[in-house]
């Protein structure tokens, strides 16, 4: 958070975790696959959707809350985006802001339940996670929204993939970076500015650190907290747009369990779930660690069962080292 503490404590441990994973990749390079630039581009592209979710999750976790609805918001956004652009022919200039608005609205509902009605964030967002998944299924009619558009005669007609899908699923900077990775970077920078340089960010830290003291110091606790969930929902909507563009369809089942991956990223980055501490730098480290771990295991053809177990082990290890720090 402050310049001096950046390389100490949890941050140093998160750097170490990433370095270990990268070293693992250098050793098990799968006949040089790990040394190819395309592998790294792919690893970053695959981690980007999770990373965008994790940025929003960081904002909420810093207030001492949690948002379990992000996976469902991702699905809702993917379904809406596909429906509006592919089936209804909306322009991207309309569809993208509309999707972000939908995500923000879900966030406002979560934040409202948590701070106005004082329902525990876990419960409030759990209920929205279920509810929003239901909306996504209703809107999509339970099926994937793709380029196969139902026609009047009961059959299907196939339409072109809209330009915006290709644009998001393309590469930039001489083909070396995926556009979604660039979008993730933009989300991370915006989140960083909000947290580290904006008044609102400082209010979020104050609320997470001691809500009562913040309130008595004149911090508008309710509004600031709702804002964190709104931002988290909006970022989840962006992630949903990216997901839809990469899959070229809006899958109402998409993003199931992604909320847990986002939380895992935040934890591996060394951010305390109690709130009041942490920052986007750590979330970035967590995203890279999880992203590269998955990639290295996959290029070495490690079965998914083993991948899951390893990921679980790493989360526990991350939390244990943090606890040691808290005690000392």
């Amino acid at each position: 958070m402050t310049a001096g503490s950046w390389l100490r404590g949890s941050t140093a441990r998160a750097v170490l975790a990433l370095a270990l994973v990268l070293a693992l990749g250098a050793v098990f390079h799968a006949d040089g696959a790990f040394l190819k630039i395309s592998t790294h581009r792919d690893a970053l592209r695959q981690a980007s959707v999770y990373g965008i979710l994790a940025c929003g999750m960081t904002l909420v976790i810093i207030t001492g809350g949690i948002d379990l609805a992000v996976g469902s918001v991702l699905a809702l956004s993917a379904v809406c985006f596909s429906l509006w652009t592919i089936h209804w022919g909306w322009s991207a200039w309309l569809a993208v802001p509309a999707c972000i608005l939908v995500g923000a609205a879900v966030g406002a509902a979560s934040g409202g339940l948590a701070s106005v009605f004082r329902i525990q964030p876990f419960i409030a967002t759990l209920s929205l996670m279920v509810f929003v998944r239901g909306i996504a299924k209703t809107i999509s009619g339970g099926t994937k929204v793709s380029t196969a558009v139902p026609a009047a005669d009961g059959g299907y007609r196939y339409v072109e993939v809209p330009e915006i899908f290709r644009a998001i699923d393309s590469r930039v900077l001489g083909g070396q970076v995926s556009t979604v990775t660039l979008l993730f970077a933009v989300c991370a920078v915006v989140s960083w500015v909000l947290l580290a340089r904006h008044r609102w960010g400082r209010q979020l830290y104050a609320i997470g650190g001691n809500e009562e003291a913040a309130r008595l110091s004149g911090v508008p606790v309710r509004a600031a907290k709702i804002g964190a969930y709104v931002a988290c929902g909006a970022l989840a909507a962006v992630a949903g747009i990216c997901q839809a563009a990469q899959e070229q369809q809006g899958d109402p089942e998409a993003g199931a369990g992604y909320e847990l991956t986002a939380i895992a990223i935040v934890v591996i980055g060394g951010i305390h779930l109690g709130g009041g501490r942490g920052g986007i730098g750590r979330t970035l480290l967590g995203t890279l660690t999880i992203g590269y771990l998955g990639k290295i295991l996959s290029i070495n053809a490690v079965p998914e069962a083993a991948r899951l177990m390893l990921t679980g082990t790493i989360i526990v290890a991350a939390v244990l080292t943090q606890r040691r720090e808290a005690r000392s």
Binding site: A3, R197, R202, A206, A213, V219, P220, G276, R277
Partner: protein, 525 residues
């Protein structure tokens, strides 16, 4: 320290107690001494209580009552002196050992498990079991019998968290008696109770007494002391000042013992010439969670003036300050700041009108511990320091450094986490963060709690300086000498209502204590 203070500690309790129980005291504490570091908090204190007797332990805050009780309860194992129970020497080293010896302490914060019923709480940790399984039926039956015996009419399965404070307290007492407590310590048992509940509790003391238990009763309320005490012991500054049968002691005598004669002033304040009225409050009432905490209080403070607010634990002084600030409770009444009628819906509005509240617990409500000193110091003024929402860390640091110099905060850098500072320095930050908003009215709630003498002096100097800058101060402190030394006038509350307003020569420790304890006296004005 006066002549009458050397009291008749050898005299027994009053006649109605059975002779057999009077021969050996249930509890005898002899020459108990205790130090915390270099500070001697108890000096050779003798205390004894007989079975079937209510022995009131009285004294100002910081007199050593709590330490004495904690030693008895096994919370401070390293004391000097002897403790005897029924003539046998004991040395409780942990609260568990003390409880096993039959010493039960009922604190202001009750120790029941809120989610469990009365039955489970009564048998907590001692559930009747067979093969490791709790015998629900047997437990329920004996719980019902016990509750009946103590006349507590409740459903034994209902979670005690849903019951009122008074009922929970009775359950806790019943629990102690069920475990055959020989000594029952009641530490300000009525501070959280309403008047009818106090009546009920005092009425039950007779029953408890009849069981042969020795009752040590700590209270600040004169009417209770007069009603329940068989004998009185007064502590002051860690010494036993007096011990006497209650019937022989007049309220004036008791107050005299508690306050002492030579209340040396720790600080002499030079008050600036009085200015215009900064804050006026008419007929203020505050309800906290439905209960009336403050009722019908009016006050006025001029710029440069310090108004002291005195009252015992639970008298409503804290609630008054928090309510004024829009920080909690349902507030009724009228408020003027600098002659302008105001109404606060929350702390932010109060701050924008120039009010500032220093809360009594810096760790719980004053500071954001994970954040840096600079972040804490600039939190109330964040809006002004971040035009268009964008913060300027450099400017925040320079504002913070300047404040740290003014306040004498000792820290390596304004970027250090505030949690790393010592208590006194943390307190300076908790107070100093308000100076950035240039307050017109400073509400100080226990500003010197838990800090050392040196830091206190520095704070007094700062407070004095602020009065010269035209700030009006309302001061709540449980340190009577501090209150007298700093305040221009003192408003005393008793159970949320104004009991007296004292100034100049009227403001003596005795007068404040008498009014705070509810001793009737003409309200001077």
């Amino acid at each position: 320290m006066s002549a009458q203070g050397v009291a008749k500690s050898s005299s027994g309790p009053r006649g109605e107690v059975e002779a057999s129980t009077t021969l050996v005291p249930r509890l005898r504490m002899r020459a108990i001494s205790k130090r915390f570091g270099s500070v001697r908090v108890l000096s050779e204190v003798d205390f004894e209580a007989f079975g079937g007797e209510v022995h009131v332990l009285a004294g100002e805050n910081g007199a050593g009552k709590t330490t004495l009780i904690k030693i008895l309860a096994g919370a401070h194992a390293d004391y000097e002196g002897r403790i005897e129970l029924d003539g046998v020497e004991v040395r409780p080293r942990t609260p568990r050992e003390a409880a096993a010896l039959g010493i039960a302490v009922i604190h202001q914060e009750l120790s029941l498990v809120p989610s469990l019923g009365a039955a489970d709480n009564l048998f907590l940790g001692r559930w009747p079991t067979r093969l490791g399984l709790v015998q629900e039926g047997a437990m329920r039956a004996s719980a019902v019998a016990a509750l009946e015996r103590f006349g507590i009419d409740i459903d034994p399965e209902r979670p005690v968290g849903e019951l009122g404070t008074a009922t929970r307290q009775l359950i806790e007492i019943a629990k102690a008696l069920l475990r055959e407590a020989r000594v029952l310590v009641l530490d300000e048992p009525t501070s959280a109770l309403q008047a009818p509940e106090v009546e009920d509790l005092l009425g039950r003391l007779g029953d408890i007494r009849a069981r042969g238990c020795a009752i040590v009763y700590i209270s600040h309320r004169m009417e209770e002391i007069e009603r329940v005490a068989d004998r009185l012991t007064v502590l002051r500054d860690g010494h036993r000042v007096a011990s006497a049968p209650a019937a022989d002691v007049t309220p004036a005598q008791l107050v005299g013992w508690m306050a002492g004669r030579e209340a040396a002033e720790p600080f002499t304040r030079h008050a600036p010439p009085g200015g215009s009225e900064r804050l006026r409050v008419e007929n203020l009432s505050v309800r906290v969670r439905g209960a009336v905490a403050v009722e019908g209080v009016s006050l006025s403070v001029r710029s440069g003036e310090i108004l002291g607010l005195a009252g015992l634990h639970g008298a409503g002084t804290s609630e008054l300050l928090t309510g004024l600030f829009g920080g909690g409770g349902a507030v009724q009444g009228e408020l003027w700041v600098d002659g302008e009628r105001v109404r606060f819906r929350g702390p932010a509005e109060a701050i924008s009108r120039g009010l500032a509240l220093v809360t009594p617990d810096r760790q719980a409500t004053g500071l954001v511990l994970p954040l840096s000193v600079a972040a804490n110091l600039t939190l109330p003024d964040l809006r002004r320091l971040s035009p268009w929402g964008l913060r300027h860390p450099g400017r925040e640091l320079s504002v913070a450094s300047e404040l740290m110099d003014t306040l004498g905060v000792r820290a390596n850098s304004p970027s250090d986490p505030v949690a790393q500072l010592s208590g006194g320095n943390q307190q300076k930050v908790a107070i100093g963060k308000w100076l950035t908003v240039e307050p017109r009215v400073l509400l100080l709630d226990e500003p010197t709690r838990g800090i050392d003498v040196g830091a206190k002096r520095e704070l007094y100097d700062l407070i004095e300086r602020w009065t010269y800058e035209g700030i009006a101060i309302v001061l709540v402190t449980s340190d009577l000498r501090e209150l007298l030394a700093l305040s221009d006038r003192i408003l005393v509350l008793h159970r949320g209502r104004p009991a007296a307003e004292l100034s100049g020569l009227q403001a003596t420790p005795e007068a404040v204590l008498e009014a705070a304890m509810g001793e009737r006296r003409a309200v001077a004005r």
